[in-house]
């Protein structure tokens, strides 16, 4: 049984560009949450998707948006990238209970 998978593992972008990160949840999980972890910091909650709708949102600007597909997989989109968006982006999936995390996508903005 595959766990939470994220792609790509690493990504380099230039300031002002747009990026899309992908997440496939653990089998049977219907909820996906996204977190940003800057270097040396704790993860910060971005938003959570359930039944293809954004259910909760953390304190992140509208440049951060997401989507959940009927198969429960999810995308995180970030527009107009800033240097400060450089971080490890973690996806977690769940089924009304515990959140299980993927290995993350490391985004570097130059």
């Amino acid at each position: 049984d595959a766990g939470v998978t994220q792609s790509p593992t690493h990504l380099i972008k230039t300031r002002g560009q747009q990026v899309t990160l992908r997440c496939s949840p653990k089998s049977g999980h219907d909820t996906v949450s996204w977190y940003q972890q800057a270097l040396g910091q704790e993860p910060q909650f971005i938003f959570q998707y359930y039944e293809e709708e954004e259910r909760q949102r953390g304190n992140f600007p509208d440049r951060f948006s997401g989507h959940q597909f009927p198969n429960y997989s999810s995308e995180l989109n970030v527009n107009a990238l800033l240097l400060g968006d450089s971080a490890l982006y973690l996806c977690a999936s769940s089924l009304g209970d515990i959140q299980y995390f993927g290995a993350g996508t490391r985004l570097s903005v130059l």
């Binding site: 909650f45 009304g96 959140q99 299980y100 995390f101």
Partner: protein, 113 residues
């Protein structure tokens, strides 16, 4: 608002010695508590959780934690550490099942030979 305080940013300990990583939380309502571990260049792995019931929670890799409501603490312990336990440990709280998780700033565990 809920918050988590990890009292030590780094904890050095000799191999095979016991360790305690301290965590205090702030909340006016019932919470769910977690400890996650992050090995270098990896994602987060759930060590253990407290949702309800017994206040002593056993997790993976020989770790355990005790929920103390009166002291609002959820300290993590292991009786004998190994070099493979070198990692960052995050205490976390959530207001409800499957709700957003609020993390503490982490404690880096250094295992000394």
């Amino acid at each position: 608002a809920q918050s988590v305080t990890q009292l030590d940013s780094q904890v050095p300990v000799f191999e095979e010695a016991p360790v305690e990583l301290r965590c205090n939380y702030s909340s006016s309502v019932s919470v769910y508590l977690f400890w996650y571990v992050q090995y270098p260049n990896q994602g987060l792995q759930l060590l253990l959780k407290y949702l309800s019931g017994s206040t002593l929670v056993k997790g993976i890799n020989g770790f355990e934690a005790e929920f103390n409501k009166s002291q609002t603490s959820f300290h993590l312990r292991k009786p004998s550490v190994h070099i493979s336990d070198t990692a960052e440990y995050f205490c976390a709280v959530s207001p409800n099942r499957d709700d957003k998780i609020i993390f503490g700033k982490g404690t880096r565990l250094h295992i000394l030979p």
